[in-house]
Structures are given as C-alpha cells and as structure tokens.
C-alpha cells in the first residue's frame, strides 16, 4: 500500500472518534430535556452547554488527528 492511500484510510479511521462525540452530545441534551421536562425551573442549561462543549471537544481531537494525517505529514 502506498503512503497516499494509507493516509486516506488513516484519516477515515480517525474520524471514528466522532461516534463517541455524537453519543456524548446526544446524552447531554437528552439529559437536559429529561430534567427540564421533570422540573421546568431547573437551572441546568449552562451546565448542559458546558457538557456539550466538553463532549464535542473529544470528537474534535479525533478530527484534528485526521487533519494532521491529511495535511501536516
């Protein structure tokens, strides 16, 4: 296998990290909707967005590796 195709495959594999980010973000907002449905006066929205940002960042670490494989090496 030559380097160019190995790079493409590697970048694609690195994007699997986004599965975890998707699950995490879904979890965060499902919990937010759940809690707001049970107790509409709960002050949890800022924490939900903090959780969203943290969960999203983990997926972006994988995406970053994909970019590094494709463009940096």
């Amino acid at each position: 296998m030559d380097l160019a195709s190995a790079k493409m495959i590697g970048a694609g594999l690195a994007c699997i990290a986004l599965v975890g980010a998707g699950i995490g973000i879904g979890n965060v907002f499902s919990a937010l909707i759940n809690s707001l449905a049970r107790n509409p006066s709960a002050q949890v929205t800022t924490w939900a967005f903090l959780g969203f940002a943290l969960a999203e960042a983990t997926g972006l670490f994988g995406l970053l590796i994909a970019f590094m494989i494709l463009f940096a090496f």
Partner: protein
C-alpha cells in the same frame, strides 16, 4: 474538490518584516488581529465605563451584562476569594471571545486557531494556578492529588492518575479551543468548496454553510465561555483544594 487546501486560511504571513539577530519578530496578520481584539475590548470598555451613568445607556448596559456574567461565574465557582482573580478571567474571556468572533468575519484571520496562541493562554492559567496553590497552601497543596477518604492501597493508583490529569490540563484546555476553531472553519471551507462541483444542487452547500455559520457563532461564544469557566474551576481547585 477544492483546488487549494482548506487549511490555507490559517497561514500566517508577515505584514512587516522585523528581524533582530536571528530571531524573527515580524509583525504578522495574527499579531494584527490580536491587537485589533485588544483595541476593541479596551475601546468598548473605556467608552462604556467612562460615562458611568446610574441609568445605563445601550452600550453601558451591554458591557455591564458581560461584566455581571463573568462576575457571577467567578462568584459561583470560586466564591468570595475569587474576586481578586476576576480582572484576569474577564480579560481572558473577552480576548478569547473577540478572537473567535473576529475570525467569523469572512477573509479575516482567527488567531485562536493556532495552537501556540491557545497554549500560551492555557499555560499562563496553568502556571498561575499552580503558583497560587503553592503560595496559599505550601506543601499541603500536594493533597490536591490525594482525594480524602480513599483507602491507602487505592492511593497508589489514584495519585498518578490525579497527577497526570493535573498535568495535561494546559494541553486539553488549549487543544479544545484550537481544535474547535480549526475544525469549524475548515468545515465551512470544505462545504463551500462543494458549491461548484454539485451542478444544479449548488444551493445545498450554501444552505448547509448558512446553518454552520450559526453553529460556529454558538461555538465561538461557547468556547470562550468554556475556556473561562474551566480556568475558574482550576483556580477553585488551587484555592480550596478538594
């Protein structure tokens, strides 16, 4: 496929060449955007604060909202002792926020999309927090790495984990901001690059990009917020230990 690399928008090019010895101190587009961000923050704050009316006008109300937003964040997360770190956290928030938002202007430059910029900010927070902790607690600061009420045997496992999670803080803090900015802007460029190649469906990437721009504005504000609140939590750790 876009003919040019979607990462081209992040290239730094010197606007004025300055070389001192072998050190390259050129004034770059990155430095220019940082100056613009600092100038806007200073200008708006001074303009809003110098009047100081009892019943605020529009500008003063906006600035007071920002002030209270960060002041409440510090108050809630760090407590009363956090007041003295408020100026630093507010400056940090405004600088990162302006950096992210200025990057959303088409054809401008996002200085937070460079790991060295965000890492410098995160390292400042990290070193500062460590020094605050050591200055306040001395050797007792090390108890940050040993949670209370844990069996002695587990400490063998927990202390290295806590130590590691403490030491990677500047990296996670900086990579989070930098990766969000790079990924967002790259995604916009890649989708925009599809416009020409899709023929009669040229409108699809444009619709997608319009939605993504909204998301990017959310991310720009959110990441500035996350950067600041995590700095808050680190300062809280250093002041109150566990």
């Amino acid at each position: 496929m876009a003919t040019e690399s979607p990462l081209q928008q992040f290239t730094i090019h010197p606007l004025a060449d300055i070389h001192i010895g072998r050190i390259d101190l050129s004034f770059t587009n990155s430095a220019l955007m940082m100056l613009v961000a600092a100038a806007i923050v200073t200008g708006v704050m001074v303009a809003a604060g110098s009047q100081g009316k009892l019943v605020p006008g529009r500008l003063q109300a906006a600035v007071e909202t920002l002030y209270e937003f960060i002041a409440n964040m510090v108050e809630e997360n760090v407590g009363a002792e956090g007041r003295q770190y408020f100026p630093f956290l507010f400056t940090l928030f405004m600088f990162v926020l302006l950096g992210n938002l200025l990057g959303m202007i088409p054809y401008s430059f996002t200085f937070t999309s460079h790991i060295i910029v965000t890492f410098a900010l995160a390292a400042t927070v990290f070193i500062g927090v460590t020094l605050i902790g050591i200055a306040r607690h001395g050797f007792h600061f090390l108890s940050l790495f040993a949670p209370h009420g844990v069996p002695k045997v587990l400490l063998l496992l927990l202390v290295p984990i806590e130590l590691l999670s403490y030491c990677i803080r500047p990296f996670t803090l900086s990579i989070r901001l930098f990766a969000n900015m790079v990924a967002g802007h790259t995604m916009l460029t890649i989708f925009a690059g599809f416009t020409g190649s899709l023929g009669i469906f040229f409108f699809a990437p444009i619709v997608m990009d319009s939605a993504l721009v909204l998301l990017e504005f959310l991310v720009a504000v959110l990441q500035a917020y996350v950067f600041t609140i995590l700095s808050c939590l680190y300062i809280k750790d250093a002041i109150h230990l566990h």
